[in-house]
């Protein structure tokens, strides 16, 4: 059996990691330099504040208790919308993959939801739900089709030859489902979950901007905008991007801990 030297492959992996890290730092540095030069050219903190002003605003935000309440409020909404969309999306996606009748009857609903503009959804939801529920409902509806399609693709992507092998050996349907279809779908599922989580953050914050729950990143953004405090608007936006990145990273770690995409499964 051909085995690679673990020391050499470990060194290569480290070198790759350093290169990626250095390239990332370089990209951030160049972006900040461009931002600073653009801000200096414009010369108005109201239109485009410089990085230093935004960092100052962020420092003030981090020191305030209302910021942390907003973070917790938004995280709760993201968590609930993400969990609900994963639960229902996975269920209907798997059912659609196993039963063409369910797939065909759900197809128009999924297409309609997918084509509906997020703002239209939020505005309609504001008639129906309290301010805290609007971001959750909107984010669920936006993330649900992603999870549905990922789960469906995962189930139908099972290798035809493996399915043929299982039918020759008369493998019971439940074993086939749990040992063959689900592991094969895991790669699709994880990719879908990552996309859905990012979308949940965006839609929850957008929903909060319009529905104005008491505590939320979107509420903070809107308050700062109404006070014409552009550095504070950008500070809230930076905090949102950071939290979204952190949660996607945490999801990646969790997926790796749970085994990640199985070897040989569709990625």
């Amino acid at each position: 059996m051909k085995q690679s030297d673990p020391d050499i492959s470990g060194q290569r992996a480290n070198t790759r990691l350093y290169r990626r890290f250095a390239a990332g730092i370089l990209g951030i540095g160049v972006s900040i330099a461009l931002w600073q030069s653009l801000s200096s050219t414009i010369g108005s903190a109201l239109i485009l504040p410089g990085p230093a002003e935004v960092v100052d605003s962020l420092r003030v935000l981090l020191a305030s208790s209302s910021f942390w309440k907003a973070v917790i409020g938004s995280m709760e909404r993201v968590f609930f919308s993400f969990i609900i969309s994963i639960g229902i999306g996975t269920l209907t996606g798997i059912a659609s993959g196993l039963n063409p009748w369910i797939r065909d009857s759900l197809a128009p609903i999924i297409t309609t939801i997918r084509a509906t503009p997020v703002l239209a959804l939020i505005l309609v939801a504001m008639f129906w739900l309290p301010s805290t529920g609007v971001p959750i409902f909107s984010a669920f509806l936006m993330a649900y089709p992603i999870m549905h399609t990922s789960a469906y693709s995962g189930v139908v992507s099972a290798d035809k030859e493996l399915l043929e092998m299982a039918s020759v050996f008369k493998v019971p349907p439940n074993v086939k489902f749990f040992k063959m279809r689900l592991p094969a779908a895991r790669g699709h599922f994880l990719a879908g979950a990552k996309n859905a989580l990012g979308l949940c953050w965006k839609v929850v914050v957008a929903g909060e901007v319009l529905s104005q729950p008491r505590f939320g990143l979107g509420t903070g953004l809107q308050d700062a905008r109404l006070s014409l405090e552009t550095p504070r608007v950008l500070a809230w936006a930076v905090a949102t991007v950071f939290l979204c990145g952190i949660s996607e990273f945490a999801l990646g770690i969790l997926a790796k801990k749970e085994g990640g995409a199985p070897e040989g499964a569709a990625k």
Partner: protein, 237 residues
Amino acid sequence: MKRYELDGVGKSFGNLEVISEISASFEPSSVTAILGPSGCGKTTLLNIIAGILPPSKGSLGDFPSASFSYSFQEPRLLPWLSSMDNLRFALSAIQDKKFREERAQRFLVHSGLAEFSATKPPKLSGGMKRRLSLARAFAYPSEILLLDEAFSAVDLKLRIELMDLFSLLWREEKRTTIIVTHDVQDALYLADQILVLSSRPARLLDTLFVPAARERRSYGSRELIDLEERLYRQILA
């Protein structure tokens, strides 16, 4: 133990006739090799016998009521399951858990993969995957064993090792076995009966019985030179 028969079995895909009328009988506990040129429809015939494909015409006799195990041209292992779990997966229709575990363990040991029981297929060599696929086919307690080019596309040494493994496992449980191959030497080394097929549409050209006892045969033996020449003549014709 039953005697299985094919009677005038044919298969067409649209206007394309792949198999012309083939009739043959398979003695209980015998090894039959289906020999023919590449692409002549041997695998299609095996898939018809296994019930994967329906025949376009003819009768399959008692085949539809039989249970099968199949060693495919590619190992068809689940890459996310260990070697042992791949065997357990194929045996999952068996209700008796103790019996199932015993068979999985026994055939894993016989195939020389005991120390790789926890290893997943992507970490196994090509030869090990083939052995595992053979072990899986034998571990499943079927009435009929089907092997589709299970010894092809590997070097000669590994091919003989795999055929010896087949013989070892087969002696333990002598099942009615049908092997598809395009290799005359493989057929002569393993089979009691050889069905020679023509190129597409496949017709049965000849049925040969190999007189020498399998235990006394060696690969490429000169004892069977007459049969070998006859087979080559038919295939080349």
